[in-house]
Symmetry: C2
Subunit: 170 residues, 2 copies
């Protein structure tokens, strides 16, 4: 992914320079953005609601998604199920405006704090099932039983997503 | 990982039954705990401070780590750098007491809300570099430049971790 010839020729304008990873000190204590993408070219991204700290989703970014997120201030991910660059909210209208981007100590994880625009049909939400957070269920300590932490969906996914295939993979 | 013979013979007592994944509806809307482990047998886990919603770290759990976390109420992870089960805080004293375990829509990510015990030498913290959160740096929009969101370390990692090797991998 670090080969300069990978840069798309059709968008030569703005780009973000990711630094090579040269030392533990540089990666942990430095000012160079030197993200570590995994063997699939992806870095995990935790996205929280800037208003209340709730974890909304855990997604993945490839190099292009991270670059577009930094440049545009809107959240882009790589959809592993559809294998495409994914501008969150393009279908649902629930675009994530980035308030802050954090990166972790060894630069192999991203944390986005976002503000969610409410779509035409719905309250602010981020989950394709219709809940506010993707993490709408809790696992009970000791037993492992699952209960619903969110009681009601904030939108009807059949209205918002219509013919879009469900991304959940068994 | 689903072979019953994988169960450790020395700890036959309590165990958590993970359900097989049989349908999208079961996984997304059901009460069965049916986590999806990746090809390395791992599931990513976002850990936040229950007191203020701050994202502390993004770790990984294998089947045993998730089971122990549910059964004990303390956070266990799988250390990818050391390739061992990792009881967070065993070295530093900064044990993570689990307040709530959430699981996401397609059950391929965990969210732990934790309370961190302060260690003998330190304030509550979670990062091996010495900061409160592993996400102590912010990436500037438009430019990609990195700045420090946390200005001071909460403990001295050379005192707390002594001879423990640094887990960061280039």
């Amino acid at each position: 992914m670090n080969d300069p010839s990978d840069q798309p020729e059709t968008e030569p304008a703005a780009k973000i320079d990711f630094a090579p990873r040269t030392s533990v000190e540089q990666v942990e204590e430095g000012h160079d953005l030197a993200p570590k993408f995994d063997s699939d070219g992806l870095i995990p991204c935790v996205t929280t609601d800037a208003a209340n700290g709730e974890v909304l989703m855990l997604g993945y970014m490839n190099r292009e998604a991270l670059e577009k997120t930094i440049l545009t201030g809107e959240a882009y991910y790589w959809s592993r199920s559809r294998q495409v660059l994914w501008h969150k909210g393009a279908t649902s209208g629930l675009v994530q405006q980035v308030v802050e981007i954090r990166i972790d100590d060894d630069q192999d994880a991203i944390w986005l704090r976002v503000h969610i625009q409410a779509g035409a049909h719905s309250d602010p939400a981020s989950c394709h099932v219709g809940y506010r957070s993707c993490f709408y269920r809790a696992v009970e300590l000791k037993t492992g039983r699952i209960g619903f932490a969110e009681k009601e969906k904030t939108f009807d996914p059949e209205v918002v997503y219509r013919d879009t295939p469900n991304p959940t993979v068994l």
